[in-house]
């Protein structure tokens, strides 16, 4: 086991508001790692720091041993480190299938490949992945007219289409019909097991994250509060206090 994402002593503040202070954590290759913490504890800020949405104040971030804390978003994405958004982002005017095809891994294509058309192979892959997330029936509908939960699933499928080495998911179950959550957990686990994608997941739903993750980090007030296996976290008094609001 080796660390694929390493966050080393990262701090980030916005004006006077400190969002992350001296956070160090690592995500092991091939695992599902959870990131939990009460609202405003700096989880999304940390994600944004990792994928390059803003500069960090101090510290460093490594992906596959490479320093990425100064790279812009697209370069990081082309290294194979992808993220989904808390507020889902898909191409609303295109169909589901087109959304999938545009998500083909451009980092694996040369410039000349851009002038090719997508063959049956790509269509099959797109449809298989849509099937995988349960959107096969809706694949020719305009993506913008799907429900929020379906758009979320589509975004997940698009991320898989991109064949990332590692995927950062920001609250994958938020806004999804509770009856579908079990199915989603299953798909995340299969994506991890079958496609070998390392997952780093922010999640508020404790049942989901405890069932799924191999290792969990808990943030509170912008600092790393606790880490360990799901069982450790569940019995950690500090975590319980943080969630219940005790200090």
């Amino acid at each position: 086991m080796s660390a694929i994402i390493e966050v080393d002593n990262v701090s980030k503040s916005f004006g006077g508001v400190v969002a992350n202070t001296g956070i160090s954590l690592s995500v092991e290759r091939g695992t599902i790692t959870g990131l939990i913490g009460p609202n405003g504890s700096g989880k999304t800020t940390l994600f944004n720091s990792i994928v390059g949405y803003h500069p960090i104040d101090s510290g460093s971030i490594f992906f596959e041993g490479r320093e990425i804390s100064t790279l812009p978003v697209q370069k990081i994405a082309r290294l194979g480190l992808l993220r989904t958004f808390q507020q889902t982002r898909i191409y609303g005017q295109m169909t589901g299938v087109d959304n999938m095809l545009i998500s083909l891994p451009h980092r694996k294509m040369g410039f000349a490949d851009a002038f090719g058309r997508n063959g049956p192979e790509e269509y099959e892959r797109a449809e298989a992945l849509l099937e995988f997330v349960g959107l096969y029936q809706k694949r020719f509908l305009r993506a913008g007219s799907l429900s929020f939960g379906q758009q979320k699933l589509l975004e997940f499928a698009m991320a898989l289409m991109n064949e990332p080495t590692s995927l950062l998911l920001d609250e994958p179950t938020a806004g999804i019909n509770p009856t579908l959550i079990n199915g989603l957990i299953d798909r995340l686990q299969r994506a991890n097991a079958e496609f070998g994608i390392t997952l780093f997941v922010i999640e508020h739903n404790m049942r989901v994250i405890m069932n799924m993750a191999d290792h969990i980090y808990c943030l509170a007030h912008g600092q790393l509060l606790a880490q360990g296996s799901p069982a450790d976290i569940q019995s950690d008094q500090r975590v319980i206090d943080a969630y219940l609001g005790a200090h």
């Binding site: 994928v51 812009p72 978003v73 697209q74 994405a77 082309r78 992808l82 993220r83 958004f85 982002r89 898909i90 191409y91 609303g92 005017q93 295109m94 169909t95 087109d98 095809l101 545009i102 998500s103 083909l104 891994p105 451009h106 980092r107 294509m109 410039f111 490949d113 851009a114 002038f115 090719g116 058309r117 997508n118 349960g134 096969y136 029936q137 809706k138 020719f140 509908l141 305009r142 007219s145 799907l146 429900s147 939960g149 379906q150 698009m158 991109n162 019909n177 579908l180």
Partner: protein, 346 residues
């Protein structure tokens, strides 16, 4: 399918026959093709990629000058030629004329592509309004710089040799040069928009941040698109240079508010972001302009401004966009979820 074939065949026949059926309107028809070319190229970035340039006219003007300079430089010293301002006797043989024209078109296209990459490298970091204003600024500045540059004739402009032979034949030639470029461009775009390239620039238009987050080389696509557009505009400029014979920097080459804005209006009027929109828009606009222009007695520019405002304010989708709303089944548009009769799970 057969219907479509008949439609295209009729178009081609009309295109080939037009200058002979309407001999009086040869130059007018050529201008329609010019408008189609500039509207289609504007739409490549403006409609398909979401980058609204107000400065594509830079490539038109540059194309004119490059073609003229190439043609002259093949035979004479450019500085002396322009310095004499028609005083000296400069003869061009037929061979020199056509060699200059052919080479001029080619070099104009390539040079404009190069310029697009250089300017694009600076301006494509600019999103939205900054890009539009930045490119408009470049066009204005280019016109002023060229009109101060004595080597290419300064504010006087450049005079090219006249078409050797019957002038009416010349008009036919220019018509077919424009028409040929237009058809090649149309077919090229028809193909390009079905490739991954087309999908990628659409993705940039719809959500550039998402496209970046998915690892698309956005800058590369933006530069390539603009360079391709500039290539065709440059060629169109080169043809115009030979057609006009004499041109000035501000009035005919870098005509920011004439052709520079006409192309935007054509694309918007026809429907931006569609293949046929700019074509339809260019034809409609040119007809409208030719019919009304001379009766407006100086108010035509005010009318043009009003047309721009009216189009963007009240007629957003253009003709093709309007048709898409009325007759969606003509266009194979994707259905919305609530319109579909799905028996599927959520």
């Amino acid at each position: 399918m057969a219907k479509r074939a008949v439609f295209y065949l009729a178009l081609i026949v009309f295109m080939l026959a037009a200058p002979f059926v309407f001999p009086v309107f040869k130059t007018q028809l050529a201008t329609v093709w010019l408008m189609i070319i500039v509207a289609l190229t504007w739409d490549m970035t403006g409609g398909q990629m979401g980058y609204n340039s107000l400065g594509n006219i830079t490539f038109y003007g540059t194309g004119m000058y490059v073609a003229a300079v190439v043609t002259i430089a093949l035979v004479y010293d450019v500085g002396e030629y322009t310095g004499s301002s028609g005083g000296g006797i400069y003869e061009f043989t037929d061979g020199q004329y056509f060699a200059g024209m052919f080479l001029g078109m080619l070099v104009a296209g390539l040079f404009c592509s190069l310029i697009a990459i250089v300017i694009g490298y600076i301006t494509f970091g600019l999103r939205g309004p900054y890009f539009a204003i930045g490119t408009l600024g470049v066009a204005i500045a280019a016109g002023e710089l060229v009109s101060n540059w004595e080597w290419v004739g300064g504010g006087q402009g450049i005079a090219l040799p006249v078409y050797p032979g019957d002038l009416e034949d010349g008009k036919v030639l220019f018509y077919f040069l424009f028409a040929g470029t237009g058809v090649v461009l149309f077919l090229f775009l028809k193909w390009l928009y079905t490739t991954r390239f087309g999908a990628a620039i659409n993705a940039i238009r719809d959500d550039e941040e998402k496209a970046e987050a998915m690892g698309i080389h956005t800058l590369q696509y933006k530069l390539a698109t603009w360079a391709m557009a500039a290539f065709f505009v440059g060629i169109a400029g080169a043809i115009s240079a030979f057609q006009l014979i004499h041109f000035e920097p501000l009035e005919s080459a870098y005509q920011t508010i004439n052709l520079g804005i006409f192309m935007v209006v054509c694309a918007l009027l026809g429907g931006k972001g569609t293949l046929w929109g700019p074509v339809v828009g260019a034809i409609l606009f040119h007809v409208f302009k030719e019919v009304t222009w001379n009766y407006l007695l100086g108010w035509q520019w005010v009318a043009l401004g009003a047309l721009i405002v009216a189009t963007v304010v009240y007629f957003e989708g253009g003709v093709v966009g309007w048709l898409m709303e009325r007759k969606p089944h003509w266009f194979n548009l994707p259905a919305k979820a609530d319109e579909a009769t799905g028996e599927d799970q959520p």
